[in-house]
């Protein structure tokens, strides 16, 4: 303390006197050296080491020149990773920035602006691991478990009210046969007669709620009528092929009357008791009565989101869920700092809101948009956690990215730290343009 106090008074750092030079150096070093040691030993030295290491083989014993870099672009696995990173860079930053811009502009006059911001921004606080677990759960294939497929199946259900009976087949010995999913009469049926369809192979628990006991019907002139029913009594008993108490009708089944030339002459849909009546048929003709295959297919199915075809889309979506909030907050702060007089003037001149937005607001926001975009690109290039967590084993290769491949090659069983180093250097090279931009921006700010 006394030593420091003894220093000459009021030395502005620029004019440090000669005598204080050594002490000044010591103090500066004390402030600076911890950071420099950390950055030198744990960041700069490793970069140099990794560059050198990337020129050696998997064990590091043999110099291989640029072989690892050649491998990187020719090997299928690593090339897929690089290609996926390109997709990521094209899609994710743009999507986040555009969404962020839309949100930032729309919430300006919103009464519950703060709540909306919090909701959209919240995913930024949680780990990508947690986000990955969340999205893997959401996009499970089984519509009973994955919320997205559950929603899709529910929506499909609203638009098609036909019931489905997968696995149904005809009761043998009752004159009806199944052929390629279609259940039809063996011989032609004349109008005015009754044709029942006793079916088996449907679980009682799969019957729709509106189904009642099977109802017998009669056919009038020019009509073919009958009942489609489940030829099983719960608990057993009964006569095969007969309509009896305790046998359920099968509602919602389409029944076609097919003319000999193959055309459909008429059709009907079964009611709650499985009864149908096809009207308007030609009395002189005879028809094959058929239950088309659409009655018995599997019905609405979930999409295999986590399969190789969709996995990249799902992972990128989870990224957007996290980072759109970042873009929104950054852009909103740019908006609030903006001088609005230009917009006001343009409105007075009669410019439409859309014109004001595209011709004035967006150009004024460009610096912010660039910062957001560049930040997201740097971030996306290094994406690891989400891709590591979301894809199940089978679709991992399809979702691969550079950072994950770097880990796999170096630590995850690839046993090739030469190739791993080359992949790391590729990442470094890819962020170089943004580094240069950062330095430029800093210099401009300083010059101002």
């Amino acid at each position: 303390m006394t030593a420091v106090a003894a220093a000459p008074p009021a030395p502005a750092p620029e004019h440090a006197p000669e005598r204080g030079g050594w002490r000044r150096f010591a103090i500066t070093a004390a402030f600076l050296s911890p950071a420099l040691v950390f950055l030198g030993a744990f960041v700069l030295y490793p970069i140099v080491y990794t560059v050198v290491r990337s020129l050696f083989d998997r064990t590091g014993g043999r110099f291989v020149g640029f072989d690892n870099y050649v491998t990187m672009f020719t090997n299928d696995t690593t090339f897929t990773a690089i290609r996926n990173n390109v997709i990521w860079v094209i899609v994710a930053p743009a999507a986040c920035t555009i969404l962020g811009l839309i949100f930032a502009v729309l919430i300006e006059k919103l009464a519950w602006k703060t709540a909306f911001r919090l909701i959209i921004f919240m995913p930024m606080a949680i780990s990508m691991l947690a986000a990955g677990v969340i999205f893997r759960g959401l996009f499970q294939e089984n519509p009973n478990l994955g919320a997205v497929n559950a929603a899709i199946v529910a929506v499909q259900g609203w638009f098609s009210d036909d019931a489905n009976y997968p696995g149904a087949g005809p009761r043998e010995g009752t004159g009806i046969v199944a052929d390629r999913g279609v259940i039809s009469t063996e011989s032609a049926v004349e109008p005015g007669s009754v044709q029942n369809f006793p079916l088996t192979g449907i679980r009682q628990s799969n019957l729709p709620e509106e189904a009642t006991d099977a109802v017998e019907v009669e056919a009038g002139d020019g009509e073919i009528a009958g009942t489609v029913f489940l030829d099983v009594i719960r608990g057993g008993g009964g006569t095969n092929g007969e309509i009896e108490d305790g046998k359920s009708g099968l509602p919602g089944i389409r029944v076609d009357a097919v003319a000999p030339d193959g055309s459909i002459a008429g059709f009907a849909t079964t009611g709650a008791g499985g009864e149908y009546t096809i009207t308007g048929l030609d009395a002189g003709q005879s028809y094959t009565v058929a239950l088309p295959a659409s009655n018995f297919d599997e019905g609405a199915q979930g999409v295999s989101w986590l399969s190789a075809s969709f996995i990249n889309a799902v992972v990128i979506l989870s990224y957007i869920w996290i980072w759109a909030g970042f873009a929104m907050v950054m852009i909103a702060s740019g908006l609030s700092a903006m001088d609005r007089s230009l917009q006001e003037a343009a409105r007075m001149d009669g410019a439409s809101e859309w014109k004001v937005f595209t011709k004035i607001t967006v150009p004024l926001l460009t610096p912010v948009l660039i910062v957001v975009f560049v930040t997201l690109i740097i971030n996306v290039l290094k994406i690891f956690d989400l891709v590591y967590v979301i894809p199940p084993g089978a679709s991992k290769p399809a979702a691969n990215v550079i950072a994950v491949e770097m880990w796999t090659q170096s630590f995850g069983g690839g046993n090739n730290q030469g190739l791993g180093s080359a992949l790391a250097i590729l990442l470094l090279v890819l962020v170089l343009p943004s580094m240069i931009m950062n330095v430029r921006r800093f210099r401009q700010e300083k010059a101002r």
């Binding site: 911890p34 490793p46 919103l110 606080a125 691991l129 907050v329 950054m330 930040t375 250097i425 990442l427």
Partner: protein
Amino acid sequence: MTSAEALGIVTRKKTLAERILDGLGSTVVNIVLLIVALFWLVPSVGLFLTSLRSAGDNAESGWWTIFTKPAEITIQNYANLLQNPDITGSIWNTIVISVPTTILVVLIGSLAGYAFAWMQFPGRDWLLIVVIVLLAVPIQVAIIPLAQLFGALGIFGSVLGVILFHTAFGLPFAIFLLRNFFTEVPGELIEAARIDGAGEWRIFFRVMLPLAMPAVASLAIFQFLWTWNDMLVALIFTNSESMPLTVAIQSQLRQFGSNIDVLSAGAFLSMIVPLIVFFAFQRYFVQAMLAGSQK
């Protein structure tokens, strides 16, 4: 032509039709944003509700079933997790990694930030540019060498290695953020302190740091969340004794379906602290991002 007419658009009152259209527009915007907000909420809510159902229930039906069968709600998953020594140990490890890292980054970063802002030394501008370049360095370039270096030092697999790694990669941002803040402090304040005979240490601890509290808070929160949420560094640099919560959870991923009870409750457990920090200090978190986010 009267002057009012000359002003035309300026003084024109909005017609009824226009006002209805405006009102309709804001209603549409409100509805659209409400739907968007719902979509953004569903994933987290879904995870939370999943974590409140038994593994058996989760294997049979989705979390939304809880709305029709509230009897399914159980905290058993959390109870199981908190009785599992691996998990409680990993929670402790997460704290032991995050807290020292945050302190180190703030301390070392603010010292260097002050030096860059108010001390004169040869090569200062060039060093600062190096720091700015390092802002965007991907951690991947350091993983292999540091794994070997830490192995040689005998700290590979320990919490210390992870702390050193995170501190090093947190520093460029810390230095950049705090230097920018320190340069905004009026020079007269420092001049006055120097005239009073205060040395650099005294100026730093008594004048600068108290003034920089908002920036320090932003940085601390940002760094804390970053370290708390990290998985990659810990995945490589820790072992089963020193692993944090994120690594403990990811080890259950192989059987997603049958481990859903551990995964959902574990993931939500890992989110609790970040969410509290986020909601309590949201302002500082946003400021840290605005101050120059290149991480």
